[in-house]
């Protein structure tokens, strides 16, 4: 299981990456993160919404109220231009972290 701190640090980048593929909503975002990480990356469900709201306030994403397939009201999120710019930054930063770690892992015997 991945540590809580790492989960929190990667939340914004993950949400932006998912929303860059298309509009989505809270529950679906959580399910997709779980599925893609093979249940290794588990967000507490309540954690996501404050993150989404903060990102909306920062102007990275926008939301609209729509309807679910059962007719229930549902809030959908999509990424804004500022969010796309931020996503590019996140990707570059995570790529650096990944490259450094991968390089170090190759050098170390374990």
């Amino acid at each position: 299981m991945i540590k809580k701190e790492l989960v929190a640090a990667s939340a914004e980048a993950l949400v932006l990456s998912l929303l860059a593929k298309g509009e989505s909503y809270g529950y679906a975002i959580i399910q997709e993160v779980r599925a893609r990480s093979g249940d290794e990356l588990q967000w507490s469900d309540g954690m996501l919404y404050p993150v989404l709201h903060r990102m909306e306030r920062k102007g990275l994403i926008k939301s609209r109220w729509g309807e679910s397939e059962t007719g229930r009201k549902r809030k959908y999120y999509s990424v804004k231009k500022e969010g796309q710019r931020m996503l590019a930054q996140h990707r570059a930063q995570w790529a650096v972290v990944h490259a450094v770690l991968a390089g170090l892992c190759e050098q170390s015997p374990a």
């Binding site: 309540g46 404050p50 609209r64 009201k73």
Partner: protein
């Protein structure tokens, strides 16, 4: 039809929503969700829009757990466990507030600074004028006032300790009861997750 997100305070309540219905023939799930909403409103006053979003999440989760075979009561409890209790949610939402380390933080500091300036002004005034008007008695009065303040503060502190002790005992009893219930729910949660994996 999609509607604009809008501000929570401007949001017109929908009369067709279960919690706005006046009849008492709600289905068990609606009843449970309504109870949860009123419980949440007591512990964590969130904008209506946010509560509605959390409710959609909870209902979706419950529906999926019921599709996996859990009965309504268990599905609701597990859904709630996954969503997080009001206290946990409060922590997450509090940190995400713009006022956190923002306007609220500045207000607190500004009022503290203002209070400090007023106290310093009072002390300076007393030092300059009370000595002239009351002579030696001014210092005796100040000492008496100081002793009274200490006594009153000590009394308040004792009372607060008594209340806190009583509350702690009550809480620990409640926690023990809750822990046994949570253990059962976690087991259900694990089983539901295990079941979902098998289905996939």
């Amino acid at each position: 039809m999609p509607s604009s997100p809008g501000c929570a305070s401007n949001h017109r309540p929908d009369t067709d929503e279960p919690w706005n219905r006046q009849d008492h023939n709600m289905n068990p799930l609606d009843q449970k969700v309504t109870d949860w909403r009123s419980q949440l409103a007591k512990t964590l006053p969130l904008p209506d829009e946010t509560v509605r979003e959390l409710e959609d999440h909870l209902r979706e989760q419950i529906a999926e757990l019921m599709r996996e075979g859990l009965p309504l009561d268990a599905a609701f409890d597990v859904g709630l466990l996954r969503l997080g209790e009001a206290k946990e949610l409060a922590g997450e939402f509090y940190r995400a507030q713009p006022g956190w380390f923002g306007i609220g933080w500045i207000k607190d500091r500004a009022s503290l600074l203002l209070f400090g300036v007023v106290v310093a002004g009072c002390a300076w005034t007393f030092w300059h004028y009370a000595g002239i008007l009351l002579g030696r008695d001014a210092w005796s009065l100040l000492l008496l006032f100081y002793i009274f303040m200490l006594w009153s503060d000590n009394r308040q502190l004792r009372r607060r300790i008594e209340i806190l002790t009583r509350e702690t005992i009550q809480k620990s009893t409640a926690r023990q009861e809750k822990r046994s219930r949570l253990g059962f729910l976690r087991l259900l949660n694990e089983r539901a997750e295990h079941g979902a994996k098998l289905v996939k």
